[in-house]
Amino acid sequence: MINASLKQLSQALAARQISSVELSTLFLDRIERLNPTLNAFVTVDREKSLLMARAADARIAAGTAGPLTGIPIAQKDIFCAEGWTTTCGSKMLANFVSPYDATVIHKMHAEAGLVSLGKTNMDEFAMGSSNETSFFGPVRNPWDSSRVPGGSSGGSAAAVAARLAPAATGTDTGGSIRQPAALCNLTGLKPTYGVVSRYGMIAFASSLDQAGPMAASAEDCALLLNTMVGFDERDSTSLDRPVEDYTAGLDKPLNGLRIGLPKEFFGEGCDAEVMAAVRAAIAEYEKLGATTVEVSLPNSHLSVPAYYVIAPAEASSNLSRFDGARYGYRAPDYANLEQMYEKTRAQGFGAEVKRRIMIGAYVLSHGYYDAYYLQAQRIRRLIADDFVAAFKQCDVIMGPTSPSTAFKLGEKAADPVQMYLSDIYTIAVNLAGLPGMSVPCGFVGGLPVGLQLIGNYFAEGQLLNVAHRYQQATDWHQRRAVIA
């Protein structure tokens, strides 16, 4: 059961081979045993989980269950969940018990009947690529406990990779679903911007943030995505479009699929063995009937610089709400209001969050706005236009997800710029607002490698199909980390 797919779990629950309470207990026991080493979860509440499991069992008994009712899942601690401590990996919210549900939480639990196993560790306010900026300490990669799981959805990735949960949610502002998925041998999907509601998902960079599933396979991701998407009145950038069944097209043959290979993704800057694994995956796609074409994303080298203006600018605005007045941490000692703000924020935020708030405050300030913020937005347009041109020649774009396999804990922590460059292949996708995936495609020195798939707007179904067919022909995604 620990390694079963969501479809298998769904069938087992429907056939009453196992109850949701039994299944949830199995995973809760595993969390209790293994989480002290991995630090993947920051909040576990057995009673709450079992309450949800009992409700799911009642729905199954009453014949009102959906396909995922009763299946346990781990929730990234960026989603507000009523009655659950929701920390966003920060001291600022270490005491925050959410009074409401994020739309994703409501849809997955109240509507679809999934059972929450708890909240997973993450980089503070989703700012990081290694999970080392979390106030609750780093998460360890199940494939090698001396290495990072990636970030910012590092706890979700480690939880699923170590089978502490059958699946998890993540959020992706610059690669935070895809990069940890790659580093932990998972399948992860960042949908088109606007497809999944951001309501109740603690905001980092609002024009880039998007939630998505992280799981063992494309099929699992498709099932989860079905429960997450949909128009939401409460998210001003939510898109009102027809509902799709993302499992419907999974088996379509790939004959004639045109794969675009951006020459900028296949040049220098990527580990040679990682690149060899990516090229082998593309050769596998050719066997499955796809053809390849070289495309160009000439402005992609500007994606990291533009991102580190736009994301901090939005973050500095979003995080101004943490002031010690209405929720979260308040400094114990202050002489006046200004000190209350300054001490609360100095003590409540970690170093990386402060850096990004300060970059944002600077690039938005009078005299610098045009040179930095507007210039970054113009470059964002150039980057998005590159993709529009590339998709005239191809159906999907492929390349590496991350330039290296999982790095060592502490290896990049001292140098923010080195850390930022680990998202060099993923950030352009967020700037353009496109859907992207990472799919396991091999190992280098025992560590997983991810293949990135980038689709056109609203091509989630196609990406899942392209990933699923590959997973029918290969078994990389079925390899499991050996946990001591």
Partner: protein, 128 residues
């Protein structure tokens, strides 16, 4: 800043907004961020309402200058005539009817506040 009311020794108000940014902003308009001085770093921290010690300011100065060196690559690109892109889908903001759509959950929301009284958020006195 908006003052909402008062009680003995306390003032109720909405937290700071960004309207002070322009007036508080650094006087130097050098576009060479390599010259981001310690003084500027401290001023940015103040704008962001983050208390910073001299030691922290020094470390931060190094980090910020490294990051701005990365960002600086943008300046070489000619973007004349390119429309800034604020949102991935370029859709305009949706409007809704100006009516109450949410229920009253004040007590639930204030239950997580550091200090409240009579339905108001308490902060240190700002006006004598």
């Amino acid at each position: 800043m908006l003052r909402l009311g008062g009680a003995v020794g306390k003032t109720f108000m909405i937290p700071y907004n960004a309207s002070h940014f322009k007036t508080l902003c650094t006087a130097k308009k050098s576009l060479d961020p390599m010259s981001l001085t310690l003084e500027q770093v401290k001023r940015i921290a103040h704008l962001a309402r983050i208390e910073i010690s001299d030691d922290e300011a020094l470390t931060t100065q190094g980090h910020l200058n490294g990051i701005f060196q990365l960002i600086e690559q943008m300046q070489a690109v000619d973007t004349r005539g390119v429309e800034p892109m604020a949102h991935a889908q370029d859709v305009s903001q949706r409007l809704r009817e100006d009516t109450v759509t949410e229920g009253d959950r004040r007590s639930a929301y204030q239950a997580v506040a550091p200090d409240v009284e009579a339905g108001l958020y308490l902060v240190p006195k700002v006006i004598e």
